[in-house]
Symmetry: C2
Subunit: 201 residues, 2 copies
DNA sequence: TATGTTACCGAACATATTGTTCGTAATTAT
DNA sequence: ATAATTACGAACAATATGTTCGGTAACATA
């Protein structure tokens, strides 16, 4: 990619991020973004068709780092704790989010976080579905499977939002622990399963 | 309130509700609302300063019915189940939401639900805080109290969204049951507490 | 029924935002 | 060096916002 393109793209992301700290997304004008990023009007529209596309691109950019290929794979080598690696996966996500702290805080603050959360949940949903598929059949619950997934995704997203709203004053490990503590994950992935895990085919 | 005012207000709410079924809130213009409601331009602005104020008024209107005074009080006479009336409270909320189904489905559909959810959570948060204040001190958990409240509120809100997205095909009782099933409420309000509840001062 | 009040109408207006076009200048890759 | 790509910025049409105001209709009260 041309350096100029990358430079423009970065400037726009940074500008939007900065503006989001002060006002909500829908009340930010393209002109403000242009001024803040210090680029030409036509340049903006050469990069993004609309303001919405810009936000989408920005979220996609962030999540491509947060949800790395490694993370999305079912193979995890950390089985510490009694939830078969899930907790370490979540901790991992939180660390990556912290790396992007400057951008994300802007997006989430000032009542504009809903759009970010929407995209975030899409990624989380895929991760949880893939990860839990091996367990869900064996669990006896009244609630439908999609409800269970939705619940786990939604409440982890809420956890992240709470964490960021609290300026990340808790460590990723603590935060992931809190989530596991209030979730019912121990009823889906019982300790027993971990003990027998070496015997699974 | 003047009948004309009420009539105009209703027409605007109905119009917005209808438009929200087709497109997201931020892409709806005041002109479209005016045309759909069949009112004069100046009339709209006499009622609402901005489009945002309109949505807020509409949500407040709905929630004033859903979160009735009776519901918000700590005194509940239904202690069936082992969660000291919480489940029946939630079921109650779901029934009221179903009464407003026509309006709510419009608000929640087409990627515009986030704003509704925001206001919804504010009400839920107050309810849960008030309701759980008597229990939280006695529970031994690592997670901070505000995290716990946030988790319960967020995941119930997610439950409601899931329920509505599924066209309310489950009954309020079933849905509340699913929520209680995946929550950790039984660790906050143990059965034992209910048995002793007649002895509390 | 008469009267004062209030709400609605709708056209017109200034202002602001959006998204496009195009000729020119600067930067980049080879 | 040079050809291709990108950024610039002014100008533009189209659309949306929020206000003003004179006239009309509906309301409450007596």
């Amino acid at each position: 990619m041309d350096r100029r393109q990358q430079k423009t793209r970065d400037a726009v992301f940074k500008a939007l991020s900065s503006l989001l700290e002060k006002k909500r997304f829908s009340n930010i004008t393209v002109q403000e973004i242009i001024d803040e990023a210090n680029i030409g009007r036509s340049t903006f529209y050469a990069h993004f068709d609309t303001k919405d596309e810009l936000l989408k691109a920005m979220c996609t950019d962030i999540f491509s780092h947060v949800f790395s290929d490694e993370l999305m794979s079912e193979e995890t080598h950390d089985f510490s704790g009694n939830n078969n690696g899930l907790e370490s996966k979540l901790t991992h996500i939180l660390y990556h989010l912290k790396d992007n702290e400057k951008n994300i805080v802007g997006i989430l603050s000032c009542e504009s976080g809903e759009l970010f959360m929407k995209y975030f949940k899409e990624y989380l949903s895929e991760m949880f579905s893939q990860y839990l598929s091996q367990y869900l059949n064996g669990v006896k619950m009244k609630a439908p499977a999609d409800f269970v997934i939705n619940h786990l995704v939604g409440s982890f997203a809420e956890t992240v939002k709470w964490w960021i709203d609290n300026r990340m004053k808790y460590t990723p490990e603590e935060t992931a622990r809190y989530y596991i503590e209030v979730s019912f994950i121990d009823r889906i992935i019982p300790d027993q399963y971990v003990l027998n895990s070496t015997n699974k085919k």
